[in-house]
């Protein structure tokens, strides 16, 4: 322990008091803006709270009523299934492309690598909402540059092709947008990891005659496993709670009922139809799912902090 002289000369109780004093503003604001609303959310999820209650009728406790209604609702399960599949596709696409880009970067000459890094940063930095709107313009039915380019290159007439009206094609567009913005983080992080692999190990593997494929699966992959795991968990969390991209794309075209994911569904149930109690119950389910997924991330981060 390299605690300072001044530090160790203070009794533990005083250090504790100073610490909590320093933490006080943070604790106060988190308690008020996160803690209290979270308690309210849980209470809300056990209440009948609809339009009547907004206009002053007292809310009524219905026990597990809201949860029963939701878990028995086919629409909820469709949304859930859609969200999970959508997140899975996006996570796999992002991780695969990100890893591929990272490996390619490693094999590039330096100036080219800087060019690629700059490009990735630009894509990453774009605000989510502007990204959706710009892509929406590029996918525009009549005047979109993509329909124009496809028509020019393949010769098949795509002008007037609507990308957002079919749910499957809607999600393909959403996947392109999300992957485009997520690959930079994954690629740069994995690239940073790749540069940490000792050169001697790679050379030894080369001497042993390992092919590129073997080197990746037997050397790189195991060494980078912690990075892969953390990045994958973060991607799962981010893709499962996607809101902005789906909501804004729906505004550009696309059917709400057939394209809503969990986040949008909570928004529509609560603020759209005024079913606050139901929306609250779905929100609680979402928080629990996120917390479970986060457990590994939190444990891993704590372990790294102590070492």
């Amino acid at each position: 322990m390299s605690r300072g002289v001044a530090m160790t000369s203070q009794p533990a109780s005083k250090r504790g008091r100073i610490s909590w004093f320093l933490l006080f503003p943070t604790l106060a604001i988190l308690a008020v803006v996160i803690g209290w609303p979270l308690i309210n959310l849980i209470l809300l999820s056990f209440q009948e709270f609809g339009r009547a209650q907004i206009f002053g009728a007292p809310p009524e406790f219905v026990g597990l009523g809201n949860y029963q209604k939701i878990l028995g609702d086919e629409a909820f399960w469709r949304v859930m299934q859609r969200s999970v599949i959508f997140a899975a596709v996006n996570v796999v696409a992002t991780m695969t492309l990100g890893t591929l880009v990272a490996i390619l970067m490693q094999h590039m000459v330096k100036p080219m690598r800087y060019v690629v890094q700059a490009g990735l940063l630009v894509a990453w930095a774009m605000p989510q909402l502007t990204a959706v709107i710009v892509w929406g313009w590029m996918f525009n039915t009549q005047y979109g540059v993509l329909n124009y380019l496809i028509t020019e290159i393949t010769g098949v007439d795509f002008i007037g092709h609507s990308w957002l009206s079919n749910p499957l094609s809607f999600f393909a567009v959403a996947t392109v947008i999300i992957t485009w913005q997520s690959v930079p983080f994954v690629a740069l992080t994995i690239y940073a990891g790749l540069t940490q692999i000792p050169k001697e190990m790679v050379e030894a593997a080369l001497l042993d005659g390992a092919s590129g494929w073997q080197r990746f699966w037997q050397l790189t992959a195991p060494l980078l496993r912690p990075i892969f795991t953390i990045v994958t968990i973060l991607q799962i969390i981010w893709d499962l709670r996607v809101f902005t991209q789906i909501y804004a794309l729906q505004g550009l075209g696309g059917l709400r009922e057939e394209t809503s994911t969990l986040g949008v569904y909570i928004y529509l149930t609560s603020l759209g139809s005024g079913e606050f109690g139901m929306g609250g119950a779905i929100a609680v389910i979402m928080v629990v799912v996120m917390a479970v997924i986060s457990v590994y991330y939190v444990r891993r981060t704590l372990k790294d902090m102590d070492s």
């Binding site: 390299s2 001044a6 250090r15 504790g16 100073i18 909590w20 320093l22 933490l23 503003p25 943070t26 604001i29 008020v32 803006v33 979270l38 309210n40 390619l104 590039m108 690629v116 990735l120 940063l121 930095a125 774009m126 605000p127 909402l129 502007t130 709107i133 710009v134 009549q142 005047y143 540059v145 124009y148 930079p184 740069l188 992080t189 940073a192 990891g193 940490q196 060494l223 912690p226 990075i227 973060l234 969390i237 709670r241 809101f243 804004a248 550009l252 986040g263 909570i266 928004y267 609560s270 603020l271 606050f276 929306g279 979402m286 928080v287 939190v298 704590l302 372990k303 790294d304 902090m305």
Partner: protein, 282 residues
């Protein structure tokens, strides 16, 4: 043979690099291209692939056309909310980071676990109760209400980021200054604080980007036209002028994107290392 293989590898690397680069920046290029093209020319079967008819008129439309959703109030709201968020988040996060990095005390670990979990709570889940909460305090559609929410949502990560920087400044430096006759406060002010400045800048920029870009909570909490921030304004603008003025929509997108792009590129590496702190070091 070996040199030929090397040359092939070089060429393939450059090709792959160019493909990745073009795919990454094309949407941004297309946004700028449309923003600087006269609106009439954006709605033709053959688009102009570069701004051959360069014009500022779309920016004029966005900034000064009073008939559409006005831009300036949204800009002012965004600037106010962002500034308040950055100042308070930095201040509170700095105090907390000091406590978590420099003191070992009962409940420290619990505090860190709580912060990490709060960071993972999706905003979507909180909209209902946050809406009701702010409503009961009469803070809906106000700069203060939204700023309050943003300070709370960025705090966990800013504390985490700053903690990393504080840990990076060895306490021995402060002690050396104290041996030379400084008081603890002086040592902190003259030695530790200057060393933390880059960390504070990076963390501040992170808060800026979050508050500037945030869409969902702003949409729920500040939905009135006079209370909108830029992202909500941009979407409203797009909804109103859709199919008629894509050039102006792209000009608006450009105005919203540029500040973020510049700041982001400055602090990118410091932010990433915060997210995957331990993982990269192994």
């Amino acid at each position: 043979m070996a040199t030929r293989f090397k040359r092939l590898k070089l060429v393939l690397g450059i090709l792959a690099g160019l493909v990745i680069f073009v795919m990454s920046v094309f949407p941004v290029y297309w946004m700028l291209n449309t923003a600087f093209t006269p609106n009439g020319y954006t709605r033709r079967s053959e688009p102009l692939l570069y701004p051959a008819l360069f014009t500022w008129e779309n920016f004029q439309t966005v900034l000064f056309d009073e008939e559409q959703t006005p831009f300036w109030p949204a800009l002012m709201n965004s600037l106010s909310v962002t500034l308040i968020t950055v100042v308070f988040a930095l201040l509170f996060a700095f105090l907390s980071a000091l406590a978590l990095a420099r003191f070992k005390f009962m409940g420290r670990k619990t505090m860190i676990v709580v912060l990490l979990f709060i960071q993972m709570i999706p905003g979507e889940a909180m909209i209902v109760s946050l809406y009701r909460q702010l409503d009961s305090w009469q803070l809906l559609n106000s700069v203060i209400g939204l700023s309050l929410v943003y300070v709370a949502t960025v705090l966990p990560f800013t504390i985490w980021m700053l903690r990393g920087f504080v840990v990076g400044v060895p306490e021995e430096l402060e002690e050396a200054a104290m041996i030379d006759g400084c008081t603890r406060m002086q040592a902190f002010r003259k030695v530790t604080f200057p060393l933390l400045a880059p960390g504070l800048v990076a963390t501040g920029v992170f808060g800026f980007i979050q508050a500037w870009n945030e869409f969902l909570l702003a949409l729920v909490v500040n939905s009135r036209p006079e209370a909108m921030t830029l992202p909500v304004w941009l979407r409203t603008y797009q909804q109103v002028t859709n199919e008629t003025d894509w050039a102006a929509i792209m000009a608006g997108s450009t105005l919203m994107t540029l500040p973020v792009l510049i700041f982001f590129i400055i602090v990118q590496s410091r932010m990433t290392s915060g997210l995957v702190a331990g993982a990269v070091k192994g």
